[in-house]
Symmetry: C2
Subunit: 200 residues, 2 copies
DNA sequence: TTCTGGTTTGACCAACTGGTCAAAATAACG
DNA sequence: CGTTATTTTGACCAGTTGGTCAAACCAGAA
């Protein structure tokens, strides 16, 4: 029976994971250092290694926590709901995640950019299965004439690409937009884009 | 007067830049090592440093070479051409760059993900100016009723996001699609997406 | 062939890397 | 309070990092 974590453990583990998220999402696994993470977490390096046995362990913990929730918006796409509302809702949920969890988005982007060494298997199994399943639903809607005929896989890619862009390329978006908040404009653009695309 | 480079210089500089592109685009600046780059270029590390004075110098040379051509597709967007054809042509050129220069796309993505430390000023000046200028053209077309009324900045973001996705997230795209070639499907999806969006 | 300038290398260095460990400091609890 | 379990730390280590340098090597012109 594993012991319940003390208050100190809870606080420090959370601080480490948050610091690790900051650093890994910016520099990638190889580019991040334990000193940076320890510093950001307000701990000494040996103290940090008291809570996680290795750099890899912190990274793995972060990726696992991320994967638990990363696919939730797509899982929620309901084949028995209204087609246009379901797809638009999915896109909106993804955009909201970009706004609310940009570090998680960048952690994921870094992992993929580096060739997905830690999660390639999950992509080929869990992710592919989920996407294929939802793509079949969308294809069904298209075949039934409820939405326009479009390739469902690329539709999903376009939603990923567009929504994650606002988290992953944040500094570029802000550089171009000046200091106008990007997300309001993005949301209404997204609404226009997909309602026009899906209309039969 | 600077001397003309010898054949050996040409060959080795090119090999180093290509190797650097491979490594930097995968691991980012901090995550890449000179040993990796030297290895990929088929040179010893001191030999590599005979051609470039530092790691930073290789990276800078790559970024400069990239920026020279990266914005060409957008620059080619012509205010006196046919609105829909111009915008679709731009999107198609960008998608072709993703197919033909994926390493360059990932180098850029890594730089932005890390907060654009080397090019933030360029983004805020050159890039912003260019985008604002082209956005004004697109806004003009919309005001004249030649295309649908959409936010031109977010239109451009959506083109960047969608096209670069196929280079930057290549392993994810392939994992989901199996081994079907992604680009044909992407191209026709892109055509459908933007022709529907722009139609008045 | 010799001379010359460009090219390559092995040995080396200081700083940094991920990680260890025993000892010290602190919290928890009766 | 005293005892015990948890937490924190300084000193340390071996391997890696970006980078230097003098010496050796080599291609080609005279």
């Amino acid at each position: 029976m594993t012991k319940a974590p003390t208050r100190i453990q809870q606080r420090n583990r959370a601080a480490i994971l948050s610091a690790g998220l900051d650093i890994f999402s910016q520099y990638g696994f190889r580019g991040a250092t334990l000193d940076q993470i320890a510093d950001a977490a307000g701990l000494s390096k040996p103290n940090l290694l008291y809570y996680f046995p290795s750099k890899e362990a912190i990274h793995t913990a972060l990726l696992e926590r991320l994967l638990e929730t990363w696919l939730d918006p797509l899982k929620a796409l309901d084949g028995s709901g209204d087609p246009v509302a379901e797809i638009m809702g999915y896109a909106q949920r993804k955009l909201a995640m970009s706004r609310d969890f940009p570090r998680e988005s960048r952690l994921f982007a870094n992992e993929i950019l580096q060739g997905a060494p830690h999660i390639e298997e999950i992509l080929k199994t869990d992710l592919k299965t989920l996407v294929d399943e939802k793509a079949a639903i969308i294809q069904g809607w298209a075949d039934a004439g409820k939405i326009a005929a479009i390739d469902p896989h690329h539709l999903i890619f376009s939603i990923w690409a567009f929504t994650q862009h606002y988290a992953d390329f944040d500094v570029q978006v802000r550089a171009v937009l000046g200091d106008k908040a990007p997300h309001d404009g993005a949301l209404s653009f997204l609404d226009t884009l997909y309602s026009k695309l899906l209309r039969v």
